[in-house]
Amino acid sequence: MSTPLIELSHISKAFDGDIILDDLNLKVHENEFITLLGPSGCGKTTTLRIIGGFEKPDMGQVLFEGKDITQIPPNKRPLNTVFQKYALFTNMSIEENIAFGLKISGKSKSYIQDKIKYALKLVNLDGFEKRSVDSLSGGQQQRIAIARAIVNEPKVLLLDEPLGALDLKLRQDMQYELIRLKNELGITFIFVTHDQEEALTMSDQVVVMNKGYIQQMGTPEQIYNEPENAFVADFIGDSNILPGIMLHDRLVRILNTDFVCVDEGFGTNRPVDVVIRPEDLRLGAPGAGSLDGVVTHLIFKGVHYEMEVLAGGFEWLVQSTKCWPVGMKVSLAVDPFDIQIMHKPESEDEEAMVIDA
């Protein structure tokens, strides 16, 4: 593969002795929509700020097209940022906000005028040139913040939870808007969020982070269908995570019941974590599946019903389009390829780094 556009190499960063990032390595390729996903405090925003130049790593290098830019200040980096709370210049009109970067770099008046028009059209806010920042809604301000960044034609756009302050409906609209923008502009997006749905919807690549380590990196499908450890499985979507014993290739024992699966190479009689997505569990008449149990909770979720089923001493989360009333005796069944086997971390440290190795 060609040289990555951005490469983080052995990045470490601590604030007041708290380690935020520990030996982080990441490659971002041209024209990718890559999302850093994780709970708050996982180091995703710090990673973005290091790429933007607002924080210096204690150790490690930031490479841009193979060149070391670790020591270069943010105003000399060929990338632009969209901040969480927009950070528009309230002392300027919308037009002046968008023109700021271009004026600083000494572009001609007519070029700037064309660019403002183009950028406002791109974010669907034509005619807003003379408006003041305060007269705009949150969603509009966010779009201006994006316009202000993209007129400078950065090779990479950094987005720090840009949709966090918007309400649900607007957030969903903006997700599509961002995907459209990315496709029209053909530039690389590095997006930070704690919202797993946002990450799955928009990204080409998702980087799941926790405690300063990358837990898993892959396409949204890979992250969802083949989580590599219990953290990823738990963080992305709903899941049943159970301890199991890999008896041998393609056979795992969960809650003293043997299940046929498709995973190989875990050795024999090895303790493992098993994840089964709630939509992959099938309910049936007692005795028809692998485990018998009883429905203990029932919630209607719109698209489906969500049940809790007590079976084998474990509360299974089950999603089904059919309603199974509370108290009903049922059986649970699952297809072999819907059982995901994961290495069990042997210590806390390993829990954090399991992927890093």
Partner: protein, 270 residues
């Protein structure tokens, strides 16, 4: 009805504290000894002594305001940048003198600047010749700056502290260097603080007579001293009130000018 009753104390306050005194100043300012209407008290500002006092007042308070601004603005920037923990204490230390008695503070400068005062004693013990400090315009400016500096620091620090660091980072991100960030972002956003700081220093400096009395030794007359003397020594309330009205109009005009600058300052960045 009850709501209207609640505002009654304030109406009484406005009546007794603002309207009646203002009416009296206007009455005295626009009448002569015999009681008839006259503009001579107003026109008296053009007399050599009065005009000179006004000019000296404007000059010294302008110089003091500029010095306060030059001291307070960098201080505000430093305070904004300093760590969270010590910020409160630093601001407190700068504002602390404000809570000491005004006369006491000015008197302290007398002791410092006197012919055989603290500063001259130190200079002479180091082998330098003494300086003539007290009873000079310089002494008055020093007193004004010391007394009014906190009034410049507070509003400027307040607006600077409110500027979001993300906004500054956004400007950096868009290519601005430190100077450009200051010129196009920090300075325009802090104009309201500068305006209120300038107002809060310039107006009291323009009208003070205590500082000029104590540090000017009666040799340098400010317009405040002239007005004071008309009321106390000269016992000519009509002239004193007339000159006060002139001052009031002068201040209103300056404020209107500054307020206009405030509006133009914002938005008009490039």
């Amino acid at each position: 009805m009850r709501r209207k009753l609640l505002s009654a104390p304030y109406l009484v306050w406005i009546l007794c504290g603002t309207l009646i005194p203002m009416a009296m100043v206007f009455y005295y300012g626009l009448t002569g000894d015999q009681g008839g209407f006259t503009l001579s008290n107003i026109a008296a500002i053009a007399e050599t002594g009065h005009a000179k006092a006004l000019w000296t007042s404007v000059l010294l308070s302008l110089v003091s305001t500029v010095i306060c601004l030059l001291l307070a603005y960098p201080l505000g920037l430093i305070l904004k940048k300093s760590g969270m923990g010590q910020k409160g204490l630093l601001v407190f230390l700068f504002v602390l003198p404000m809570w000491m008695n005004f006369l006491l503070r000015t008197m302290a400068w007398q002791v410092l600047l006197e012919k055989k005062g603290v500063i001259n004693t130190i200079l002479q013990s180091l082998g330098f010749s003494g300086l003539r400090l007290i009873n000079t315009p310089t002494a008055i400016v020093m007193g004004m700056v010391y007394d009014f500096l906190p009034f410049m620091v507070m509003p400027i620090y307040n607006v600077l502290a409110k500027i979001d660091d993300r906004v500054i980072e956004a400007a950096r991100d868009l290519g601005a260097n430190n100077f450009q960030v200051f010129r196009y972002i920090i300075l325009p956003l802090s104009v309201p603080g500068i305006v209120s700081g300038v107002t809060m220093v310039f107006v009291p400096a323009l009208t003070t007579f205590v500082i000029s009395n104590m540090l000017g030794g009666g040799k340098i007359l400010l317009i405040g001293n002239v007005i004071e003397q008309e009321f106390t020594v000269g016992n000519n309330w009509h002239l004193g009130a007339g000159l006060s009205l002139v001052m009031m109009i002068f201040i209103l005009v300056s404020m209107a000018f500054i307020a206009k600058f405030d509006k133009n300052g914002e938005g008009n960045t490039f």
